[in-house]
């Protein structure tokens, strides 16, 4: 029988450790006190834009919204266009922040100081399983943003499935990825609410900060990161305390980096595969196998030329943009992505959308983005763009793009040409566009 509601957290006792902050462990009681207090401080309105950088603040913000019937919005970026779109779709939107300041002109609430903890134990609030807790957003293959509603029942199942696969219960988790991004949301926040893990409040960035954050929490402990951050951490030669597992997602990880990480940190490295629409779907230990192992109740089924995911925490039947090859009911090989779809640092868009934004800038006569294919492993790929825009400067174009697209997709380099090598049918063959950049790089030494 499916329950009608589920508790905010399955941490079993009032003194269970939910999080680690700079001043020590946070018990379930202190967490619940913080949640109750913040929920009272929210102004009227049903939608919260939670931009808290401190991971514990994010957790409390999400939880306070959930227990007070509010929806947390988790957009992929905070460009002016994104904020305007969210404010138009949800006019009662309030920004919850913790020191970075509000976003745009939205009404805002600063995260409050810790709530006093009373002498009695606090009951764990129950939340209806069909209540919408979060809105997450996808670019869609055409670039038209799609909104996905995540219900409490699905998020709880998601956290439990991930925790079970990783064996994460009882672990302290240090994340280098934002809590607002789907991967960080699932792998540091959800598995802390349901899955028995405890998150570290920090969002360490520099290698020495990552090492310090790990040293500040007891074992068993794990690092939730990306290939890029992992490479930086290994290259920096800082002393990292022993780990119990390492989690990586958002981009393919080279086998070499996986081996180096396992050797340096003395722990298995697990990769997660998923997307915003579905959340995580599969995992693998990269040094042992190329095959992805689906989470226990998740299934793939053919859908046209591609596949769709269903079961477990996946709501409905969700088409996948990647090219997968199932090898049995529980395993598949990932072959890659549609050439038009782009995934950089875990953020997705399409070339069609980017080209539309570029060509839509007043003064731009023609323009095209190129996804280079010669970047070394475990580095972040940068897009390139060529533009025909006689009256504009690089600065003009980048400033105009910055309003509409995530900065990670800004072109580097942006080159100015007299015309693009379009063929008679007005199509722009990729090889010809690539040749344009190769010629440019030959004249400039580097086109990174």
């Amino acid at each position: 029988m499916t329950p009608q509601s589920l508790p905010l957290t399955d941490h079993p006792t009032p003194d269970s450790i939910v999080a680690w902050c700079p001043d020590g462990p946070v018990s379930r009681d202190r967490f619940l006190a913080d949640v109750a207090r913040l929920a009272e401080l929210f102004p009227p309105g049903g939608h919260i834009l939670n931009v808290c950088q401190n991971r514990y603040h994010f957790l409390v913000g999400l939880s306070a919204a959930a227990v007070s019937g509010r929806v947390s919005l988790l957009p992929p970026n905070l460009t002016e266009e994104t904020i305007a779109r969210l404010a138009a779709a949800t006019p009662d939107l309030v920004c919850l922040h913790d020191g970075q300041g509000a976003v745009g002109t939205l009404p805002s609430l600063a995260f409050p100081p810790p709530a006093p903890v009373g002498s009695g134990h606090l009951p764990v609030p129950l939340i209806p399983v069909d209540q919408v807790i979060a809105h997450v957003y996808t670019s869609g293959s055409t670039g038209v943003p799609g909104t996905h509603h995540k219900t409490w029942g699905s998020l709880v199942t998601n956290g439990l499935a991930a925790a079970e696969r990783l064996g994460a219960a009882g672990h302290a988790l240090v994340g280098t990825v934002p809590a607002q991004h789907m991967y960080g949301f699932e792998s540091t926040v959800l598995i802390c609410l349901h899955g028995g893990a405890a998150l570290s409040s920090g969002h360490p960035f520099y290698p020495a900060d990552i090492a310090a954050a790990l040293a500040a929490v007891p074992r068993p402990r794990a690092l939730v990161t990306t290939p890029f951050h992992l490479r930086a951490l290994l290259d920096a030669d800082v002393a990292v305390p022993p780990l119990d597992f390492i989690l990586s997602a958002t981009a393919p990880l080279s086998e070499d980096l996986a081996r180096r990480a396992e050797a340096a940190f003395g722990a298995p490295l697990l990769e997660i595969y998923g997307c915003t629409e579905t959340g995580q779907l599969a995992s693998r230990r990269s040094t042992a196998t190329r095959l992805w192992h689906l989470l226990d109740d998740v299934r793939l089924s053919p859908l046209g030329e591609r596949h769709a995911a269903s079961g477990g925490h996946v709501e409905g039947l969700v088409p996948l943009g990647d090219v997968l090859e199932p090898v049995d009911e529980h395993h598949f090989i990932l072959h890659g992505r549609d050439a038009d779809l782009i995934n950089i640092a875990g953020k997705r868009t399409s070339l069609a959308y980017l080209n539309e934004q570029l060509c839509g800038i007043p003064g731009v006569i023609d323009g095209a983005f190129l996804m280079p294919d010669d970047e070394p492993d475990d580095h972040v790929t940068r897009l390139r763009a060529a533009v025909v825009a006689p009256g504009l400067t690089t600065r003009d174009i980048l400033a105009a793009l910055r309003l509409h697209i995530d900065p990670i997709f800004l072109p580097r380099p942006l080159i100015f040409v007299d015309r693009l090598p379009r063929n008679a049918a007005s199509k722009l063959p990729r090889a010809d566009l690539a040749a344009l950049f190769a010629a440019y790089a030959a004249g400039h030494g580097s086109a990174r």
């Binding site: 969002h203 520099y206 290698p207 930086a232 800082v238 400033a399």
Partner: protein, 96 residues
């Protein structure tokens, strides 16, 4: 480039021009080091760097000067608020 700790200890403190050179070289920027305004923001608008660039630059600085950059608060990009601020930070870490 790799340096031994001994080399790092003998490297003189960087000038603004030295750090500008690191930024341009590490990121392959199409500008000369003296085109970076020492007081303009490096992050976001201004020079237009993002957190990925900052981590790349931090790695080069740590190798060359034998110091590890640390964020003193939740805002990881404070050190990179300007070229001058970044240079001052590196010099202060070398003197510490």
């Amino acid at each position: 480039m790799t340096t031994t700790p001994t080399d790092a200890a003998q490297t003189p403190p960087p000038s603004i021009a030295d750090i500008a050179e690191i930024i341009v070289t590490a990121l392959g920027l199409e500008m000369t080091p003296d085109e970076i305004d020492p007081d303009a923001p490096l992050f976001g608008e201004g020079l237009g760097l993002d957190s990925i660039d900052i981590l790349e630059i931090a790695l080069v600085i740590s190798k060359r000067y034998g110091i590890q950059l640390r964020a003193d608060n939740d805002n990881n990009t404070t050190i990179f608020s300007s070229l001058r601020n970044l240079t001052d930070y590196v010099v202060s870490q070398l003197e510490a």
